[in-house]
């Protein structure tokens, strides 16, 4: 072979490259199905890996959605305003004046607000006494910001006046946490005595009727929470001039940060008109991420979790792929030797093996996604039900989860899982393809 001949052949090879690629694809595709059982097994291994990743991503997303739901809709809402002293040590006197709430209501017609008040007290039934956390809400506006009042386990939610005692005092209804009801052995309809130190230093005491028991909102409330109307609270505590907490719900979560900023600014202006007393500290606006950092951290972490766990599962599955391709290359060394001997470029051989791996990965991705979607659909609809063993759900890191675990699959997660699988398997197939490059035709053809 002369140099001129060689160079013209090289030239024709380059010219043919574009037309040769589809043929290569076709050959690679046919090569996969030369051993259909082996290829199917590889595909099913990869596909099941992918299904697991999809379901895992879906489960974690479902959990984070539940977390966000619990962190916002159940009792926290999207934002809260407090005084610094209340945040620091639940200072009873660290209230914000009612006029602030009216102003905020006027200035932000798009957002919903509802005030809350808190106190510590001693609750007694006929048989037991225990320390409780008194929480007061406005029954009219609370449903605008949270679903707290719909969270009834048994009894009927009512925070109004139950009856009048023999010496002329009003007996208000209240609702209590499930664990507290269990510990005190009280049921809806029973009487509860609350004793506390009122804001003026006197001994606040009153009789109440338990109207309902609430499902767990948060572990603390569940264990020691007593919920009453603001009206009842004011009669017990003699604390008229303000509220401790303002729950704010925004229309669009996207605008949360902007609204938080403008509420903070507005409060600064209000402070100039009606100054706050020094002892209570500044008014602080915090969004739900700041209020429940555990949830915010969990959200941050869950993405990384999906990636790491997914990577491990796919890597394991791609070991199957590696084995298949090594076998395939090993079987065909003789064939490859002949191809090389008749002038096939080594890089074409490498590309062919890579394309074979790619096809395997692609088929696995399609099969895995389809089956994954079907299973996920069921998972999203019905979920995994733990309610028999844990009727109240479970709490983790101070957050209460529902007993039914439901999935939620984001299209982005599905795409990421498929992409990750293809990339990992392609990386794994570099090893067998590299072996083809290093073949010595004379040796393998012997």
């Amino acid at each position: 072979m002369t140099t001129a001949q060689a160079s013209s052949l090289q030239h024709s090879t380059q010219a043919l490259a574009v037309t040769r690629f589809p043929i290569l694809l076709f050959v690679a595709w046919r090569n996969i199905w030369r051993n259909p059982i082996r290829s199917s097994l590889t595909i099913s291994a990869l596909a099941s890996g992918l299904i697991m990743v999809i379901l895992y991503a879906s489960m974690l997303e479902g959990m984070t959605r539940q977390l966000v739901h619990f962190a916002t809709d159940i009792s926290t809402s999207h934002m809260q305003v407090h005084r610094q002293a209340f945040i620091d040590d639940q200072d009873l006197y660290a209230t914000l004046p009612w006029s602030y709430m009216q102003q905020l209501k006027q200035d932000f017609p798009a957002v919903k607000v509802s005030p809350r008040l808190y106190a510590a007290g001693l609750a007694s039934s006929t048989t037991t006494s225990t320390g409780v956390l008194i929480k007061a809400v406005a029954p009219k506006t609370e449903p605008d910001v949270t679903q707290m009042l719909q969270h009834v386990r048994h009894g009927e939610l009512n925070l109004g006046i139950a009856d009048i005692t023999e010496n002329g005092f009003q007996r208000y209804n209240l609702v209590i946490g499930a664990q507290l009801a269990k510990n005190m052995k009280v049921n809806p309809g029973d009487e509860l005595v609350l004793v506390t130190q009122a804001a003026d230093g006197s001994i606040g005491n009153a009789l109440y009727r338990i109207a309902a028991v609430l499902k767990p909102l948060e572990p603390n409330f569940d264990r020691m929470g007593v919920l009453m109307s603001i009206e009842a609270y004011q009669q017990l505590m003699y604390l008229q001039d303000g509220f401790h907490e303002l729950a704010i719900k925004v229309d669009e979560m996207k605008e949360l940060n902007a609204i938080q900023q403008s509420v903070t600014n507005r409060l600064d202006q209000l402070k100039k008109i009606k100054p706050l007393d020094e002892l209570g500290g500044e008014a602080v606006v915090r969004n739900w991420r700041q209020l429940s950092p555990a949830v915010a951290d969990m959200l941050e972490m869950s993405k990384a979790f999906v990636f790491i766990i997914g990577f491990i599962i796919i890597s394991l599955a791609s070991l199957g792929m590696l084995n298949t391709m090594l076998m395939a290359v090993h079987e065909r060394t003789h064939e490859f030797g002949i191809l090389l001997a008749i002038g096939m470029k080594r890089r074409w051989l490498l590309v062919m093996v890579l394309v074979e791996s790619f096809f395997l990965a692609l088929v696995s991705a399609v099969v895995g996604s389809l089956i994954g979607l079907v299973i996920n659909d069921y998972f999203e609809k019905y979920g995994i039900d733990f309610s028999r063993s844990m009727p109240d759900g479970y709490d983790w890191a101070g957050l209460v989860f529902e007993p039914v675990m439901k999935g939620y699959l984001l299209p982005g997660d599905l795409l990421m899982a498929c992409l990750m699988m293809i990339i990992v398997t392609m990386l794994a197939s570099l090893i067998p393809s590299w072996r083809t490059v290093r073949l010595k035709p004379a040796e393998v053809m012997r």
Binding site: Y93, L122, S124, T128, S129, T130, G131, T165, N167, F169, V193, V195, Q197, A199, D200, G201, S202, I203, N205, A206, L207, L279
Partner: protein
């Protein structure tokens, strides 16, 4: 020399008490121990019974001053030994009739407005008593002070122109108490307490009780004003002022009962 002088001085004082004391004191002086265990116990016992005797009835006012409010309550109190006591609020009108009954380790409150008796659970013992800087635990633990603490005289001599005893009490290992150390300072001349300093387990002073306005009642010198000052809130305090105390009033055990708590509105 000074120490010796003090000891002699003490001996002279002690001569008015019974001779057993003198002998025991001499004995301990010879083996050069700083103070006699018997002497300390007697001093603690003395303080313990100062406002109480065997039985007592007293009228007093309690003024609670906090950053947010100041209020004065008038109350009447009865006691029998260290185990039984009953306090009824007479004024102001809003709290009138609210009563606290203490029997041994238990505390009940009677609330006339709702006509209910509630027991203070152990989890609420550290809570404030009637809005003051005293806790429910203070009421209970007062009667077991002798059993809960090991006391010794840590200083005796002249301080601020007064001859005093300084008694340091450290809780026993198994005692369920909140303080890490209690230091009581009392005058030698009339055995009237001046200060009680309460430290936490880290040795930080948490609150100071000051005793003053002594008055002679039934041969005893009783401080009529007790001021409790929390160290972290210098602007707050609780002041007890006894208007009168009668000792050895006839009181039956049944007086300190839940039935009686409800009956005497």
């Amino acid at each position: 020399m000074l120490i010796k002088y003090n000891k002699i001085n003490q001996l002279q004082q002690a001569s008015s008490r019974n001779t057993v004391y003198i002998f025991s004191f001499l004995f301990f002086y010879i083996i050069s121990l700083p103070a006699s265990a018997i002497e300390v116990d007697a001093l603690i016992q003395h303080i313990d019974e100062l406002w109480r005797g065997n039985t007592s009835r007293a009228n007093m006012t309690m003024t609670v001053k906090t950053r947010r409010y100041q209020r004065t309550m008038t109350m009447e109190a009865w006691s029998r030994g260290s185990e039984y006591s009953l306090v009824v609020i007479r004024q102001p009108i809003k709290d009138k009739g609210i009563a606290t009954l203490k029997v041994k380790e238990n505390i009940w409150n009677y609330l006339p407005k709702i006509n209910r008796v509630t027991k203070v659970p152990s989890s609420m013992m550290s809570g404030s008593w009637m809005g003051s800087h005293f806790t429910n635990d203070d009421l209970v633990k007062e009667s077991t002070f002798k059993d809960d603490y090991t006391s010794n005289i840590s200083f005796e001599g002249t301080r601020e122109g007064k001859k005093i005893y300084e008694i340091t009490s450290i809780p026993k290992a198994d005692a369920a108490v909140v303080w890490g150390k209690v230091v009581t300072i009392m005058e030698q001349k009339n055995l009237s307490p001046l200060y009680a300093l309460y430290y936490d387990e880290e040795g930080v002073l948490i609150r100071t009780m000051t005793f003053d306005q002594p008055r002679k009642i039934d041969k005893r010198i009783v401080p009529m004003r007790l001021t409790l000052q929390p160290e972290d809130k210098p602007e707050e305090s609780t002041i007890f002022i006894y208007k009168d105390i009668e000792f050895e009033v006839p009181l039956k055990e049944g007086f300190f009962s839940l039935q009686n708590l409800q009956r005497r509105k």
